[in-house]
Symmetry: C2
Subunit: 218 residues, 2 copies
């Protein structure tokens, strides 16, 4: 026999609505009252499901991180797995850029972030990278992805040619960046990621590969 009336709130519904609210209005605009209003309830009702506001934010951050795909580390060579992971990571964060400053405070105790770190670190070590190097690589990629999701580079420029021409001689075309925001940001990410992986592959060949030559990376 189902319950006559379903509870209006569930943890999942709260997290989904909180995510949408943060996406739409930003982290500073996110309050328990505002969230409750969005859910059609009053503020205090949320406290039946979460103890504090930060617990809600942690759940949102964990859900965002949970969308990242690390499966490549199980089946592909380390470089291809890093590439797949970085793009998936970037997609997950750029889908919810406003939560990034909160999320980037550190993997902390959030399960999804720890599972991701575990998969990446494990995959790199399995491929032969020394543990300390694997840590550095995972962190470096995290820096790059978080930074790219944090704030669009192109978005920072305004669409007013006059503003830049006067004082910044090389930025004469900068106003055009605003038009091509997405392709500039993605192009910069692609360039940086490719260069990074190129450099890592060179170091791998120089150190790990020289020792375990002939051993497949997967």
């Amino acid at each position: 026999m189902p319950r006559p009336r379903q509870p209006r709130l569930t943890r999942q519904l709260i997290v989904e609505t909180a995510t949408a609210l943060i996406d739409a209005e930003g982290l500073p605009a996110f309050s328990t009252r505002r969230l409750a209003a969005e859910l059609g309830v009053r503020g205090p009702s949320l406290y039946n499901h979460f103890a504090t506001k930060d617990e809600i934010l942690d759940a949102v951050a964990d859900a965002v991180t949970g969308a990242v795909d690390t499966s490549g580390f199980a089946s592909r060579d380390w470089a291809a797995a890093l590439l797949d992971w970085a793009w998936s990571y970037r997609r997950a964060l750029t889908a919810h850029p406003n939560i990034v400053p909160y999320l980037a405070q550190g993997p902390g105790r959030r399960p999804a972030a720890l599972a991701m770190a575990d998969a990446v670190y494990g995959g790199l070590v399995r491929a032969g990278w020394p543990p300390a190097r694997a840590t550095h690589i995972g962190a470096a990629l995290r820096y790059f992805v978080a930074g790219s999701a944090l704030g669009s580079f192109a978005r920072g420029f305004v669409e007013d040619p006059e503003l830049y021409a006067a004082h910044y001689p090389h930025l004469r075309q900068a106003h055009r960046l605003a038009e091509h925001q997405q392709s500039v940001d993605e192009g910069a990410f692609a360039l940086g990621l490719d260069a990074l992986l190129y450099g890592l592959a060179a170091e791998y060949a120089r150190t790990v590969g020289a020792v375990e030559s002939g051993r497949p990376n997967g």
Copy 2:
């Protein structure tokens, strides 16, 4: 209480105190009242020097960015200049990590950020990089630096061995990251930056260098 002979507030003093306050207590704790208290005045007095709270934050962000050294682009080859710039940029941001989320929203109209973009872009173009590529390189480095300053990777882990051992097999040593936070974060940055520059140098040799062989980069 008699009024002081000298004005107690100046824009510079306000910005310096605001920076210290944000460093010490974080962006959410920063309020005009809290700042005024720190300066020994009442909240409204600040509005004689800045029109809004955001104007103060912009001034703080601009001061932080203003500490970045881009002089290498005038005198050194592009790769060495990028390396110097990236480290200087990182030092400036990690000295004030709590302002990074605000600062990273985009270069916007802040003079110091625009001057920095101008110097970097101009230096790269002068070295022979195609304009579109120069934009991507500057943005990619910005992503990496901002991400590295935004949140320490190592800090995210707690110093409790038991917490990770159970569920994340590869993170058995992760609690040790907390001890070596600074060296892990700097090592990850150094590795990523070197790999990135290695990859860029390869592309430069493949494209620009092939066309303008023999031309000095400076």
